[in-house]
């Protein structure tokens, strides 16, 4: 079994939600908020909310889409906002641009809905994050498997979902390390293709673990490659 020179360092993560300064009672307000809120706010309502609502594997994508659907009652706009896939973004700026573009285009096409009051207001919040070393590291696939199995939901989300913003690559911490430190590019690719919208964090983790187990079996004595 290969031993990585650079170990994978597992982290512990905790988020606290700070209440922001913007709120929206119309689609025009939403656009204004999207344009001016902090990066931490865009992160909170997209990346972070996917983690805290990971158990919803049908029809929930981000807070903006959910609010537009339920409180603004604008299905078509909600659908477009929900269709933005956070895996396509390696920066908050790009994600913000697309969110603004979708809402701006909709308002341009339907100016009559821009000032229509919604049922409930949307409150922009921010995620503040504390990360600490978990005290667990992996140099082999065995150790990596054990470490992934011990992670909390927040830590799994940190390494598997939010990581692309840190790496600024369309991948995740796990795949990045497996490809670059253990040279397991095929396994890394399989893991990166797990759909985070149709899986819960638990089922995504189970898939990661199963893929690692399959890889381990390939390296067992007598296994055909």
């Amino acid at each position: 079994m290969q031993v990585a020179e650079k170990p994978f360092e597992f982290s512990t993560v905790a988020n606290l939600t700070r209440i922001g300064n913007f709120s929206a009672g119309t689609l025009a307000d939403l656009l204004n908020g999207l344009e001016h809120c902090s990066d931490a706010s865009i992160f909170h309502h997209t990346f972070q909310t996917l983690g805290s609502h990971h158990f919803l594997t049908e029809g929930f994508s981000n807070d903006f889409a959910q609010w537009v659907l339920v409180d603004a009652n604008r299905d078509a706009l909600a659908e477009q906002l929900a269709a933005l896939d956070i895996r396509d973004y390696t920066s908050i700026a790009a994600l913000r641009d697309d969110l603004c573009r979708v809402v701006r285009d909709y308002i341009a096409q339907h100016p009559e809905f821009a000032q229509q009051e919604t049922l409930e207001r949307f409150y922009f919040c921010e995620s503040l994050q504390v990360t600490l070393p978990f005290g667990v590291q992996a140099r082999t696939l065995d150790e990596f498997h054990d470490g992934v199995g011990r992670l909390s939901h927040a830590a799994f989300h940190f390494h598997f979902i939010a990581s692309r913003l840190r790496l600024q690559l369309r991948t995740n911490d796990f795949s990045h390390w497996l490809a670059n430190s253990l040279g397991l590019k095929v396994l890394a690719d399989y893991i990166n293709r797990i759909d985070i919208y149709t899986n819960t964090l638990d089922s995504a983790r189970d898939k990661v673990l199963r893929l690692i187990e399959r890889e381990k079996r390939k390296h067992e004595p007598g296994a055909s490659s």
Binding site: V70, F134, G135, R150
Partner: protein, 411 residues
């Protein structure tokens, strides 16, 4: 003076079966840098009420994680609690007739308690408006002071809020249960949801025989659909509106309604509402109006578990933790879109929201007609509570906040 002794201790490891070993390990990791450091919680009652209930559970868990935590309760005469009750109602938006004596009483008891309670911990959390003035004892640059507001401040009475705001503005931060309750303040405001304890008597798993016993005791038929609202007899919980919704549903389904709340004997307004509810029930044998003893957690638990659908048709609500209690038991919930309820009931994902009597009735009928959807909402509701509204998450929020404050001070 001695800190409040906690009523019960449930070891942290017992929660592993509920939330998983990884989450417990994470709590231990987060607590490590805070071990041995001093924390103080101050509120205005040791028993009764949601805050005392939460602290009773939270303090021992924090102790087990190695935090040097103390819980203090401020004291006051009847005059103080009359004033703070008036403040409480006024902050909820009810009419208030300003009386300068009220402010004098508040200041006097604050000073009296400051002489009695040592506020020398590194992290001090003051709960609700009653002890908010204790910030007066803060010495410049000493300690991290947090004010946690458990009430709905979305429409506060201006006079009372103007009196309290200068105190609140001197804290390092404020915690609210909903972004809607936050105010314009010069300090950071954070969102921390209230929580339920999955291992408490009100939420733990029950023997089916006990549930059957409770149903038999109250003459509720387990074979027909049971609609339940658990809440005190208060107009803001709209129990009469629930009866009206039930009557619409009855045209289509042979169901029963249970309205269960605490005894109204010591609450003059509650007694009036209870009479209104009984009048509206009009001796319908399928409407059970139950006055439970002040603290009957096992009965409440059993009634929620036996329910087909749980209703929370409040007209106004702080957070409405009875919703999380029902969701934890995998019950489909139909509730009003007010206060903290939409945070718990994500429409069509973890329950159904309604805005009227007719809407409530419609959603109930829909769920009675589609039990498979009701089951899915209940299951997803359970997961939502597990992820966001359990006491272990509350503890994690506190650890995160304390770590942040401490890191900020070090920078």
């Amino acid at each position: 003076m001695s800190p409040v002794p906690v009523a019960s201790r449930t070891p942290l490891t017992d929660y592993a079966a509920v939330i998983g070993e990884g989450e417990i390990e994470e709590l231990r990791t987060l607590a490590k840098p805070l071990a041995g450091r001093t924390f103080e919680m101050v509120n205005s009652t040791a028993v009764g009420g949601g805050v005392a209930e939460m602290l009773n559970r939270l303090v021992p868990l924090a102790e087990e994680l190695g935090l040097n935590i103390r819980w203090e309760v401020m004291t006051g005469g009847e005059d103080f609690f009359e004033v703070t009750k008036a403040f409480h109602n006024a902050l909820h938006g009810e009419p208030y007739h300003p009386d300068p004596k009220h402010f004098e009483v508040y200041r006097a008891y604050t000073e009296q308690n400051l002489k009695r309670i040592p506020l020398d911990a590194e992290f001090i959390e003051i709960h609700d408006p009653q002890p908010a003035g204790m910030i007066n004892s803060r010495r410049a640059g000493k300690g991290h002071w947090i004010w946690r507001c458990h009430i709905d401040l979305s429409h506060p009475n201006r006079v009372v809020w103007d009196f309290l705001e200068p105190y609140v503005a001197r804290y390092n931060g404020a915690l609210f249960s909903s972004p809607e309750f936050a105010r314009q303040l010069p300090i950071p405001q954070y969102l921390v949801y209230p929580s339920i304890d999955p291992l408490a008597e009100k939420n733990k798993d029950l023997d089916p025989a006990f549930i059957a016993d409770v149903l038999a005791r109250y003459q509720i038929d387990p074979l027909r659909p049971i609609l339940t609202q658990i809440s005190r007899f208060d107009r803001l919980k709209d129990p009469v509106g629930v009866i009206r919704a039930y009557r619409i549903v009855r045209r289509y389904f042979d169901c029963q309604l249970v309205l269960a709340g605490g005894s109204a004997s010591d609450d003059p307004e509650g007694a009036v509402v209870l009479r209104e509810v009984k009048a509206a029930a009009d001796n319908d044998p399928d409407i059970k109006v139950l006055e439970l003893p002040a603290w009957a957690p096992l009965e409440v638990n059993a009634l929620q578990r036996a329910s087909t659908i749980v209703i929370q048709k409040s007209l106004r609500e702080g957070f409405g933790l009875t919703v999380s209690e029902a969701l934890w038991k995998k019950k489909p919930v139909v509730a009003s879109a007010v206060g903290g309820i939409p945070t718990q009931v994500i429409h069509k994902h973890t329950g159904l929201l309604a805005h009227s009597v007719e809407g409530t009735a419609y959603q109930i009928r829909f769920l009675l007609s589609h039990p498979e959807i009701a089951a899915r909402l209940g299951e997803q509701g359970h997961q939502h509570v597990k992820e966001n509204f359990l006491i272990t998450q509350n503890l994690k929020n506190y650890l995160t906040l304390f770590l942040m404050l401490s890191q900020r001070a070090a920078d």
